[in-house]
Symmetry: C2
Subunit: 265 residues, 2 copies
């Protein structure tokens, strides 16, 4: 909409640190990183919404008063972070969790046979969904204060009729005001898609801690497995822009018919 104020010129005659000239580290920041920051800002503020196209490289170059190549390098990095999606001949788009090809981007459980991600959509059952006060641990993980309102959800995912994943998740009450079991049940597609379209919360990255555990009583019942059958415990913290934690999720995966796939490089 409005153009940004004029930036620091690229390499002005006298070297001008962008900010805080007295910092311990010179904190030299390449132009394209600054552009990346500006684009990131426009993504955060919702100037460009998930699924929409952003202005063309040439247009952005004009707006930011830099060359197309510099904008290009900024977009390159954002695209490799999966925040943007480039499509030759069409434009650059704000990435979404609701695309066909990358559905369940954060779910790495795949069936032992069959190459499809989860061979067909999962049956989702919301077991529980309630508001409560954050424990100290939940509060710490979600960067809240103990006692703040959080939403707790428990659900089961089944593949081919077999309950395979049990998930407990905790969401900060503020951003997810209005989320209910009803909404979760009605919505089709990945939960992170719902978060984007209904609550404007886009999950950007996540960390997972994986362990082997034995189920407790409720887990073995919901997953219909004996108490001695080991489960994969997957504890995930998902972050939105600015490394803000927005979800704590504890998943319990049956790995008798599926496995967690990870590519190392």
């Amino acid at each position: 909409m409005t153009h940004e104020p004029p930036m620091n010129l690229p390499f002005p005659p006298t070297e001008t640190p962008a900010l805080d000239a007295s910092a311990l580290t010179p904190a030299f920041s390449p132009l394209y990183q600054q552009i990346k920051g500006l684009i990131l800002q426009s993504l955060q503020t919702g100037e460009w919404k998930p699924g929409e196209s952003i202005p063309s490289e040439i247009e952005l170059a004009g707006r930011y008063r830099v060359s197309q190549g510099t904008v290009r390098k900024a977009i390159d990095e954002l695209a490799s972070d999966h925040l943007l999606l480039r499509r030759q001949g069409k434009g650059t788009f704000v990435a979404t969790h609701t695309e066909q090809h990358v559905q369940y981007r954060f779910l790495k459980l795949v069936p032992d046979q069959g190459n499809q991600n989860t061979e067909g959509p999962a049956q989702r059952t919301i077991v529980d969904c309630k508001r409560l006060r954050a424990t100290a641990e939940i509060a710490r993980t979600l960067a809240l204060r103990a006692g703040d309102s959080v939403l707790q959800v428990r659900r089961v995912l089944s593949f081919a009729g077999i309950p395979t994943i049990l998930e407990d998740l905790w969401l900060p009450g503020g951003p997810f005001k209005g989320l209910s079991a009803e909404r979760l049940t009605v919505y089709q597609g990945p939960m992170y898609g719902l978060f984007e379209t209904e609550f404007g919360v886009r999950m950007v990255r996540a960390d997972e801690k994986i362990r082997a555990v034995l189920p407790d009583a409720s887990q073995s019942e919901l997953l219909q497995i004996p108490a001695s059958a080991p489960l994969l415990s997957v504890e995930r913290v998902a972050y939105t822009y600015n490394d803000t934690p927005m979800e704590l999720r504890r998943g319990f995966y049956r790995t008798d018919t599926h496995h967690y796939r990870n590519a190392l490089s």
Copy 2:
């Protein structure tokens, strides 16, 4: 050493597909991809060995008769694949598994407390190391023929005196001729470092399949855990250049004090 034969000129007057003009897809390949392929070749053939520096961008641009920017883009991709390592002011180096900072690059198990990768080096114990004939399954995974010679190794890694990882691994007999329990015991540092320096085999990427399992008798004994204690089963296939499988490794991780860390993006 010797210069490459002259390449296809960039965008020659008449469009010249690199190869196989009758392919279904036009198979247009950008120049920098072709350069990437040539550099990859020099890495495979050992013209530039792990740890050594490769020629400067300007020199490579001259050798391949392209601009520095094109070489740069090729190197960029190889660096992001961790095949090369750029160091400003010094040069570009062939990546290694023996660097301090990325030691145990493929090992994602970290202690629950303490941020260090494995807080200090692990104690390694070779339990077994013998040559045998490949089973059908091993042969398939390693792209061998059933009955071909393979090396089988079993070892235990302990952290702070606690046996934490039990690994069974299978290596093709040919490339690893001369590998013995003795060598494995004597060598300090990551096993993949030994593979590089002693056998010229550089692991480039790997796929892992992770499950929760219960230990068998020998596993619970070696890891000093009860038979009911679940373990993380990590089945890894590691590849060298050209997607050639070079190792099958089955790891069993205790996750009572450690966890498998994975970053999603």
